[in-house]
Amino acid sequence: MKFIITFFTVLLLTASALYAENYPSGKAILDAIDRNMTSENRIIVSKMVIHGRRGTRTIRSKTWSEGETEAFTEYLSPAREKGIKMLKSGDMLWTYSPNTDRTIRISGHMLRQSVMGSDLSYEDMMEDPELSRHYKAAVTGKETIDGRPCWIVELTATTPAIAYQSRKLWTDRERNVPLKQELFAKSGKLLKRLELKDVAQIEGRWFPKRMIFKDMLKKGKGTEFIIENIRFDQEIPRHIFSKAALRK
């Protein structure tokens, strides 16, 4: 009997050791993702291709962002949306429309509304979290996505004021880019699915040039977010992140 207990204890310890050896810690993976993906600031020219139930629309925009808290977006086309600007500062969001010459603060339930009919909400726009600051992580498996070996990482929020209580990431083992993400509500319901494609090396980082967002509560084929140009760590004048910049 003693022999059997000793045998199974040794087996368990060996399996744990092997597991620990094969699967890196969740925190190490999140740190690696943050090191690769986040920057002091960035300027992005992008287009959003929204595949709705009645057809496809393309909206181009330019965004200046700094850290997690500041972002300024100006819509470039089509004509109806051209000149609309959005400013995120801290946990506040304003929008400016040249048609009405009004600067309006977006708050409350409006933050959960879709941005320009896409699968992204204002909350999604406002959130670009450093994962390691807001989530604790555990590696639960490995899988291959688009021919790239990935770790499957499950994240649980550690800060309460976050849009998604938990996330599941399939992150590229070498490039530290999450190639697929599933975002869940507190209830465990899957709210959004995000796929990151066309990963290329830009200014020494691996970065996706195309992202596909799918709001799982909406019918439709999702929204493609295509990066036409991205520059990291630029000189961005401070006045860009002010309300005065909205009316300029």
Partner: protein, 428 residues
């Protein structure tokens, strides 16, 4: 001879108040309650149907199939397109009906300060209706002019009406700008400046909370919905809902436009087919019939009993009259004539009083809005009765018949009285 008996009975009733006043009051009270109960329940049901039809369901309503599935969410991205053509077809095919497009939408109403920044804001429920002409059908259907509290009806482009309590909450004055922040038909964020022309109160809590009413052309501009509408409402010219006819029109329309492969095909539904309204109406009508029947039956029993009591109370008088040689048949007939007189007088009085109160309730109603602050049901918070042809006899007939039948049963005792024992009974 008959006239003389009738005159004699009436004189007797008038002179002996114990024989007339109390029985007439009893019959009046019964008839009054029957009329009031019937009229108020009828008013409740009619108001429920009418409010739903005017603001939500129409007598028939056309939407796209997918819009219909999510109608509660006001999904304008799934709205009807090519509405002009469709309206032309409908007006040609059903010239005896009123057809009017509407757009329901949600958003944020933002009030600017002097610098154009947000002074105050609140979530708004909007309805785009045809207000292009002063006498447009929707202005009448929604009773907009009657609902006006402050200001005037919109007469120019971008002018809107806003619910009075919402305007007070936002501290919004007549003539001020209010910016709608909403979503276009294609989901894009949109802002649009409106000007407040007036404030309204409908007496329906869900509408009086935070509603704005704008001309549908302005709403189309704001929400990028050219030649589109969320819903097309159809009403009969006399505004009376006929379930069978409306269901027939809806079925014929759906046969013409049926295309199972097109999720945006227009579908028409009658009022009865929307939100289980037909089942609800059936249930309410059955409930009303049961409650009124029970009440009428109970009142009949009370009045019958009053007739019986009256007969028993006059035991001595009947004995004297028999002893004086009045025939049993003559006595029985005179008592029935008396009860007919009492029944008619009491029922007429009760019905008249019931009709007067019901008419007053129909015209003025009782305002329960303070008790319905959180109500989500689209019905008037002013409770009104409705006088129908039934109101004229629902109390009158049971009033007359129950008191007469009661007397007839009580009067049978006259025939059991033995003339030989009358003097002994009277001595007692």
């Amino acid at each position: 001879m008959k006239n003389a008996m009738l005159l004699f009975s009436i004189k007797g009733l008038l002179r002996d108040r114990s024989r007339s006043l109390f029985p007439i009051l009893m019959v009046s009270a019964g008839a009054f309650l029957c009329v009031c109960l019937h009229s108020s329940m009828k008013g409740t049901v009619t108001d429920m149907v009418d409010s739903a039809a005017r603001f939500d369901t129409g007598h028939v309503k056309i939407m796209t199939r997918v819009y219909n599935e999510l109608a509660d969410q006001m999904p304008n991205d799934l709205a009807l397109m090519g509405v002009g053509n469709l309206l032309e077809k409908l007006k040609r095919k059903h010239p005896d009906m009123i057809w009017t497009p509407r757009i329901k939408f949600g958003g944020l109403l933002d009030i600017p300060d002097e610098n154009g920044l947000t002074r105050t804001q609140g979530p708004v429920f909007g309805i785009g209706v045809d207000m292009s002409a002063r006498h447009s059908p929707d202005t009448k259907i929604l009773n907009l002019e009657k609902a006006l509290v402050r200001g005037r009806m919109p007469g120019h482009k971008t002018e809107i009406l806003i619910s009075d309590s919402f305007a007070r909450k936002l501290d919004l004055k007549i003539g001020e700008t209010a910016t709608l922040l909403g979503s276009t038909m294609y989901g894009a964020t949109t802002t649009y400046n409106f000007k407040v022309a007036g404030t309204v109160r409908f007496g329906m809590t869900p509408l009086d909370r935070s509603t704005m009413i704008a001309d549908i052309d302005d709403v189309r501009m704001a929400l990028d919905m050219a030649d589109s509408a969320g819903e097309i409402m159809g009403y009969t010219n006399d505004m009376l809902y006929d379930d069978k006819r409306m269901t027939g029109i809806a079925d014929a329309f759906n046969r013409d436009f049926a295309d199972p492969d097109d999720e945006f095909e227009p579908v028409m539904q009658s009022l009865g087919e929307q939100g289980m309204m037909r089942d609800l109406l059936r249930l309410v009508n059955v409930m009303v019939a049961i409650v009124v029947s029970i009440f009428v039956f109970a009142m009949s029993v009370v009045l019958w009993n009053a007739g019986l009591m009256n007969g028993i109370r006059r035991y001595g008088e009947i004995g004297v009259r028999l002893a004086m040689g009045e025939s049993k048949g003559g006595l029985y007939r005179s008592m029935i004539v008396e009860s007919v007189c009492i029944g008619i007088a009491g029922s007429a009085l009760g019905t008249a009083a019931g009709l007067a109160v019901s008419y007053w309730l129909q015209q003025n109603g009782i305002d329960f809005s303070s008790m319905m602050q959180k109500s989500a049901i689209l019905r008037s918070s002013v409770w009104r009765a409705q006088v129908t042809s039934v109101s004229y006899y629902i109390g009158f007939l049971p009033g007359v018949f129950a008191s007469v039948i009661g007397t007839m049963f009580a009067g049978i005792g006259i025939y059991r009285r033995q003339t030989s024992q009358l003097f002994r009974e009277l001595e007692v």
